[in-house]
């Protein structure tokens, strides 16, 4: 029983961290129509920045400053925002599919840096002993994880409310106008490039926050937490849930991660350890099929975008 409840707490914590990624992607794709195929890259920047700032000091590393958790989180968001701004300035003018290729490449570049820049990132070993906030207060891991779950729920709830607020604001309306008809939005005097860049940076900053929250929970970081497959999973979450709808993004994260985790448990029970690679392949094939079937048969997602009509049109 303890085993099950601690697994559930762990599962919900991971879902909450991932849902920050999906919310960020929903701002970029769902609201603005930006195809960011480098989600894992921004997640990695956030995760690694947090780790470098907060991990317990070690002589062989340049970073590992041992700073408090909150400094790590704020720093992760700031560094990811800065990276997104630089990347955005370079790529935001590209047309849709070229932006996808460029951001996909950037994520691979970031992963290579995490693997190769050993003095800072620990290379393939990664970094360990990352500060857990208020860990001395709790006696056992389960109650600590429950505390962290509450912390994450507050963060995700706050981000959700803030996103709902800004998407209903004039700024959010401009984003949707650009997505629907860029030429018309530009003709009305809106700088499409500037708004797209803002949405790109803000969405990526949320992905950086997700990385910090995840690494702060797990307590270590390695390049294998940020493989390109993660980008596909987050896209599947958004498309299954319904892009353009923040609640859809949250629901999709839960559903897709549940499918992933459940199929993982099933595979580990059925498939002998010698064929673990094949078992993992089944999991990925399942996620790929879910993505493609959803696009074919229910492109709106489980709960799609609500149609929006200006209140000035009257009824």
């Amino acid at each position: 029983m303890i085993g099950l409840s601690s697994y559930l707490v762990f599962f919900v914590c991971v879902v909450l961290a991932l849902s920050l990624l999906t919310l960020g992607l929903n701002l970029q794709w769902g609201s603005t129509g930006l195809f960011n195929a480098g989600v894992a890259g921004f997640y990695a920047i956030g995760g690694y920045t947090h780790a470098i700032l907060t991990a317990a000091p070690a002589p062989q590393y340049l970073g590992n400053f041992g700073l408090p958790w909150i400094v790590g989180v704020v720093g992760a968001m700031a560094v990811t925002a800065l990276a997104a701004l630089l990347i955005g300035l370079l790529t935001i003018r590209l047309r849709g599919d070229f932006l996808a290729i460029a951001t996909f490449g950037i994520a691979i570049l970031i992963q290579l840096v995490t693997l190769n820049l050993e003095p800072l990132t620990g290379g393939s070993q990664g970094l360990t002993r990352i500060a857990k906030p208020m860990s001395s207060v709790f006696s056992d891991p389960l109650s600590y994880n429950l505390f962290y779950l509450g912390l994450m729920a507050v963060v995700v709830g706050g981000v959700y409310l803030a996103l709902e607020r800004i998407l209903a604001s004039p700024w959010g309306r401009v984003l949707r106008a650009i997505r629907e008809d860029e030429t018309a939005a530009v003709a009305l005097g809106k700088s499409a490039i500037r708004f797209r860049l803002e949405a790109f940076v803000l969405g990526s900053t949320l992905m950086g926050l997700a990385g910090a929250m995840y690494v702060g929970f797990i307590g270590f970081v390695s390049p294998f937490d940020f493989l390109p497959i993660l980008t596909f999973q987050v896209w599947a979450m958004l498309i299954v849930g319904g892009s353009g709808n923040n609640r859809g993004a949250l629901l999709g994260t839960l559903v897709v991660w549940a499918i992933w985790a459940a199929s993982g448990i099933f595979v580990s029970k059925v498939v002998p350890p010698a064929h673990a690679a094949q078992g993992a392949a089944v999991q990925v094939i399942l996620i790929g099929l879910v993505l493609v079937l959803m696009l074919l048969f229910r492109p709106r997602g489980l709960i799609g975008e609500r149609p929006m009509v200006s209140r000035h049109l009257g009824r």
Partner: protein
């Protein structure tokens, strides 16, 4: 030092020719089907593994002269190219054509391609696992070519074969009715249809050619020296870089783009730590996207 430079150039031309074979398909899908097909790299993987399956059953044949393989491999590769071409067309029928008919925007096709790529790559993992495979256990000595460059006989053969295939494709596009129809579709789909081009048949031919060339590129990559499930995926960025560099829809563009990417990759290796090698095509790609997004031979869109 100059020998190292020449060696890098020779290696670059060799990998470049293979990249070019794969990039032709990416380039045609960008221009004729109008989307960036992220699943294209998996046609390379499928071609390589289908060939492996065929040579496992029928054998690789008596080695031809100083090469490590015989007719068995060449026939298997040709069969695998046809099968992969048909698989590419099948994927279009199953997924992309349905999405086009439902009026989905081109970026939705790109996601679908992402999903399809995952499924295709992991079907290979499901059957063969993550281990490396070799077509042939024969060891080959490098030939020493003045002024001191090392080249494998296999590489020379593959290079010649790759260019022969490209020349045949060029003749097909220039002189056959279907080839002309393909170029017409690439230039202006609406006008081509108005002139009586049968879209369905052009789409089918395009996929079969793209898949077949990708399969050959996969086999050639697998020959030098081994196969693994990421064989195609690792080339994805290089393929896009080559296709965009040459300009979408241009055959000579894709060939020159492929050679440029191959050479640049090997020259970069002289100055950059090998751990960063996979990033090189991307750096080149970014430069092309920023400074010449329509490519060297592409038309302004």
């Amino acid at each position: 030092m100059s020998t190292m430079l020449l060696q890098a150039l020779a290696d670059g031309v060799f990998t470049g020719a293979i990249i070019a074979l794969g990039a032709i398909g990416v380039s045609f899908t960008l221009q004729i089907m109008r989307f960036a097909n992220f699943a294209h790299s998996e046609f390379l993987t499928w071609g390589a593994y289908l060939t492996l399956a065929l040579v496992t059953v029928f054998g690789i044949g008596e080695p031809l002269g100083i090469l490590t393989f015989g007719w068995g491999l060449l026939i298997a590769a040709a069969l695998a190219a046809v099968l992969t071409g048909l698989a590419a067309w099948g994927l279009d029928r199953l997924v992309f054509a349905r999405l086009r008919r439902s009026g989905a925007q081109p970026l939705v096709l790109v996601f679908a391609a992402f999903g399809a790529a995952l499924v295709m790559r992991h079907i290979v993992v499901l059957i063969w696992g993550h281990d490396s495979y070799f077509y042939s256990r024969e060891l080959q000595m490098a030939m020493l070519v003045p002024p001191g460059i090392r080249i494998m006989p296999d590489q020379v053969f593959i290079l010649a074969l790759a260019f022969a295939v490209m020349i045949v494709l060029h003749l097909f596009l220039t002189y056959s009715r279907t080839g002309i129809a393909m170029r017409a579709m690439a230039e202006s789909p609406g006008l081509a249809q108005a002139c009586g081009v049968r879209v369905e048949s052009v789409v089918r031919t395009t996929w079969v050619i793209c898949g077949g060339l990708a399969a050959l590129a996969g086999v050639f990559t697998g020959l030098t020296p081994q196969l693994h499930p990421e064989i195609g995926f690792n080339l994805l960025l290089a393929l896009f870089a080559a296709a965009i560099f040459g300009g979408a829809g241009s055959l000579p563009g894709a060939v020159i783009g492929g050679l440029m990417v191959g050479i640049a990759e090997n020259l970069f290796l002289l100055v950059v730590p090998p751990g960063y090698k996979p990033a090189m095509p991307f750096v080149l790609l970014l430069a092309v996207l920023l400074f010449r997004p329509d490519g060297l031979f592409g038309e302004k869109r």
